[in-house]
Symmetry: C2
Subunit: 215 residues, 2 copies
DNA sequence: AAAATAGTGTCTTTCAGACAATATTTA
DNA sequence: TAAATATTGTCTGAAAGACACTATTTT
């Protein structure tokens, strides 16, 4: 089957979407788990299509970023016996994230203590991958609203990386990456107004050396 | 199913093991392909166990390094219809690599032009992963014989990365990584004898910043 | 001694880290 | 004008790159 770790940033903190196991019977009936589903070989060209369909059906969202994470297998992960789950992770900006409902909740990634099956391992793997890629790429752009200030982008990086970044170094690096475009607008937060940016279209592709993080 | 990219370095060049499809019927009967097999849920605890078993049965080797690569899925990859393959890659030193036989051959990775199914994609993904990890880790140690000189190790890095490395910088980096141990011995190649090293036991774990490659 | 290969010293350049200085707002 | 926030300048130190120099063999 395919499981999807859907991540977004809600008021500055990384959250994961959990879906209620209603259609699925035992085990873990009614528990909150990662949204997932079986491959429909008739409609899904490949497993990424399955992930897209799961996202659409269980979270009603079309994610701008979706990447295969890892495949989790074994006898131990499901009480019913040997199983395999091809895990994907998706990043969506807050304004695109579906609202919580009776079958969908958003949990702070760092607060999730236990999940059915090995879903906690899957979640941790997704968070680790996101953090790792964030340190040398522009991946967090997929978590941003359409326009944003450099300070806002920097604080998203800081959230994901769990550490402070030098404003100077961060600005330099974003400039090198050349993935931001000024809108011409600016917005004030009680001091000098900050310029507003939008992501260029080839955003996620951009990568650079490491060390966004202060040692 | 599980497919394994088994890599080794034969006289300085990266080679991949291909296995003859005899047991498998159509399609591609008798063709050379990546060794693979179905999961045996009774004997395999997880898919990595399957990969180990495939390596043992089809190449008669126990690999010191084995890592999940990616899962390849879809309708397009097998003429018989939708399928999934959890791909792994393994690194073995030349002295451990099984000899070629009527069901096993070693091909230069860069010379392989076509393979059954999407095995060429899988091979390319493995080579890319190896190259990428080599640029910031000690992964190539898994390709080395029990003892080796710094120059030999450097030339393995150069082979994998397809580029020259500065001897000075390379020596400095290996020192920082602190994964080599002098044997006390040395060996001469017609000039000053080179000190012999062996890998410390926590070898593959070591990682460092990028830029082993000269820009 | 010359040739070959290994190993080290060190200068230069680049870049990250730190932080100060300047700029542009609102209160 | 003071306070707040954004943005840029620039000093410093560490590490990468380049390359010459020293060391230890064989022929």
């Amino acid at each position: 089957m395919v499981d999807v770790v859907l991540l977004t940033l809600i008021s500055g903190e990384l959250h994961v979407a959990l879906h209620k196991r209603l259609n699925e019977k035992e085990p873990y009936f009614n528990a909150w788990a990662l949204p997932g589903g079986e491959v429909h070989t008739q409609e899904d060209q490949d497993a990424m299509d399955t992930a897209r369909r799961v996202l659409k059906q269980k979270a009603n969202v079309v994610s701008p970023y979706l990447e295969q994470l890892e495949t989790f297998t074994g006898v131990a992960r499901d009480p019913r016996g040997w199983s395999a789950s091809i895990a994907y992770y998706a990043l969506v900006p807050e304004h695109v994230a579906p609202a919580a409902s009776d079958v969908l909740i958003w949990s702070k990634v760092d607060d999730v203590r236990s999940l059915p099956f090995d879903h906690l391992d899957i979640l941790k793997a997704a968070a680790t991958r996101l953090r790792s890629k964030t340190s040398y790429s522009a991946l967090p752009l997929y978590l941003m609203p359409p326009v944003f200030t450099l300070t806002e982008l920097r604080s998203v990086y800081e959230q994901v990386l769990k550490g402070k970044l030098e404003p100077r170094g961060f600005a330099r690096r974003m400039e090198e990456l050349d993935i931001l475009e000024e809108t011409g607008e600016s917005k004030s937060e009680g001091g000098r107004p900050a310029r507003l940016y939008r992501a260029k279209h080839d955003r996620g592709a951009a990568q650079l050396g490491p060390s966004l993080v202060t040692r």
